[in-house]
Symmetry: C2
Subunit: 150 residues, 2 copies
DNA sequence: CGCGTTATTAATACACGATATCATCAAATC
DNA sequence: GATTTGATGATATCGTGTATTAATAACGCG
């Protein structure tokens, strides 16, 4: 595999001492192109569409590894079994989840860098990312709820 | 069931139009006394220790309901299948997860009420809670990593 | 209170996402 | 290119969570 055009996230894999295998790079590529919130099944299907020789277990192992490196993060949309994986671009991700219809609304600004620096000092930790989730009713569902009181 | 000493969270269940059944109150009690981060299996066992007649499915349904009401929230500690459920006291919860040893460090202050108010205005949502997770290395693991470069 | 309505439950069989295993393979290093 | 060692892939298996439905109990009302 040529070293030209190694994605920054692939570089992070290597820097952490892991081999840049076909399976891992394919999973990473699928998640990067996925646009957020893919379930494991969606990821499995897309990985297989790219390269059918990649095994099921390797996909899950790659997801675990990327999670440990704070490159992606599993999170629940509805409370049922399957998590969805989101990229943590620049180490963070933020969304609102509607607890009624499960819609996800992403937002960008969080203003948490100061808090992160505080925590690193106070708790002696070394932070690499964060996920911020708000729960509540989206515009449609809260309108609906109000009209239910007519 | 007597109405005296109805916990605030039980009251929220009722206010939202749900019946205060034995199964729900037992699950809620287990989670409240659990001190955070219980897996579904732990919850199942404890519920059964309190009242063996409560069925498996009812426990999961209760967890789903409490999640929809933003009373608890499922979250991943390690990236493997089983989520842990945390209470969202006063609607929020915050922790640091060590991506190396899976230790969880809780912290209290988040300063997110202003952001929440902003989002409610901008996105026309009605927020009832939030979860903030930081990822990184805890004090022990980051010390260990430094000494690995000797 | 006791009654009727209706949401909720319990039991179990099942679905399906995730994992353990281990022989094989290939990425990195020299 | 050969060596080392981490990573892979096929599959059998596990275990969490779900569907189903008749039976039950919470709650409002008289
Ligand atoms: Zn909604
Ligand atoms: Zn952020
Ligand atoms: Zn640690
Ligand atoms: Zn908070």
């Amino acid at each position: 595999m040529s070293n030209t055009s190694l994605s920054p996230r692939a570089q992070r894999l290597r820097d952490a001492g892991h081999k840049l295998t076909n399976a891992r790079l394919t999973v990473l590529g699928v998640v990067e192109r996925g646009g957020g919130h893919l379930t494991s099944t969606e990821i499995l299907n897309r990985v297989n569409a790219v390269d059918a020789r990649i095994g099921r277990a390797s996909v899950f192992r790659a997801l675990d590894l990327l999670t440990r490196l704070s490159i992606i993060r599993p999170t629940y949309i509805d409370s049922s079994i399957t998590p969805t994986y989101v990229l943590l671009p620049d180490g963070h991700h933020h969304h609102v989840i509607c607890t009624h219809c499960n819609r996800v609304i992403e937002f960008e600004d969080c203003g948490l860098s100061k808090l992160a620096a505080d925590l690193e000092r106070r708790l002696h930790v070394q932070l690499s990312g964060h996920l911020l989730e708000f729960y509540g009713l989206c515009d449609r569902c809260s309108a609906q709820e109000r009209s239910a009181f007519n």
